[in-house]
């Protein structure tokens, strides 16, 4: 007969994994739909899937966010057929960088910034990582960094939009009975 405490921690783990699986599935769907939206510069996207990364960080922790970002990019790129192409690596570097920065800044600055601030920081990290990856792997020319202001300006806008989206989503999720027990 197992103790009550063990059962509770088991339940928590199952609940966490289920929630993360749901977030990964949602994020992959968003990633896939977003790939259909045309954009003047291939890597310049709204990154709405980051709302789900942000949600995972807010509901759980740093690792949850990293898991959702990584799996979303894997599954999403397999669906849209960009797996192992340049845009996959660019997206992967951006996704991981933003999950890292958002996770760490939520952990230490969560009380100072709302999810909007966290999301903006993540968008900046993502765009810088993307430009860095473009430079390191694809276009070895310093003129690539001329694009940085465009990316950063765009990141500011998408960061704010995604942050607001994250606030709404987390606000709604916290009201759901299934999530109430965790948060």
């Amino acid at each position: 007969m197992r103790s009550h405490a063990e059962k509770t921690s088991d339940l928590e783990r199952v609940r966490r994994n289920t929630h993360l699986a749901l977030l990964v599935a949602l994020a992959s769907a968003v990633h896939t739909i977003e790939a259909a939206i045309p954009s003047p510069i291939p890597w310049l996207k709204f990154g709405f899937a980051n709302i789900l990364t942000l949600t995972a960080i807010s509901l759980y922790d740093f690792w949850a966010g990293l898991t959702v970002a990584f799996l979303r990019i894997m599954v999403g790129s397999l669906i849209i057929g960009s797996f192992l192409t340049p845009s996959f690596f660019i997206g992967l570097s951006g996704g991981i960088a933003s999950a890292l920065v958002m996770g760490i800044s939520y952990r230490f600055l969560g009380g100072v910034f709302s999810l909007v601030g966290i999301s903006v920081l993540g968008a900046y990290a993502s765009n810088m990582a993307q430009i860095g990856t473009v430079y390191l792997l694809f276009i070895r020319h310093s003129e690539v960094f001329m694009l940085l202001p465009v990316f950063l300006g765009f990141g500011l806008i998408t960061g704010i939009i995604n942050g607001i989206g994250g606030e709404f989503l987390v606000g709604h999720i916290k009201k759901l009975p299934a999530f109430k027990a965790v948060v």
């Binding site: 910034f113 601030g117 903006v120 430079y135 003129e143 950063l152």
Partner: protein
């Protein structure tokens, strides 16, 4: 929803972005020009020394002038004269080209200036 620190963060990042824009778009005065004709490098010439270069292209001779640290196409045997209308260029990385005559002028030098942005 936005906290005060959010607003401060957004405003300071906006300023940072505008600042980086002025760095990236400003460019640096180039040191020299490299002229290519039909894909082959004809030569590199200093931007500090005024001069006139006659470059034989596919259609005929393009005249490229260097004056006061800037360079421009004076004339070219092409139809639409886009190269001549482009006017003077002097920033590193800038380029003027007469595509029909296959003559390209690039401004070089001052490269490696963007390292500060990667930090």
């Amino acid at each position: 929803m936005l906290t005060i620190s959010d607003k401060i963060l957004i405003i300071s990042l906006t300023i940072l972005t505008l600042f980086s824009y002025s760095i990236a778009s400003g460019g640096r005065q180039g040191d020299e020009i490299r002229i290519e004709a039909d894909g082959k490098v004809i030569g590199t010439f200093s931007l500090r020394k005024d001069g006139l270069h006659e470059i034989k292209g596919v259609l005929g001779a393009s005249r490229i002038e260097v004056k006061g640290g800037k360079t421009s196409f004076l004339s070219s045997p092409c139809k639409n004269k886009l190269c001549v209308h482009q006017g003077e260029i002097n920033k590193s990385g800038q380029m003027a080209a007469c595509l029909p005559n296959r003559v390209v002028v690039r401004v070089l030098g001052g490269d490696g200036d963007y390292d500060a942005l990667t930090r």
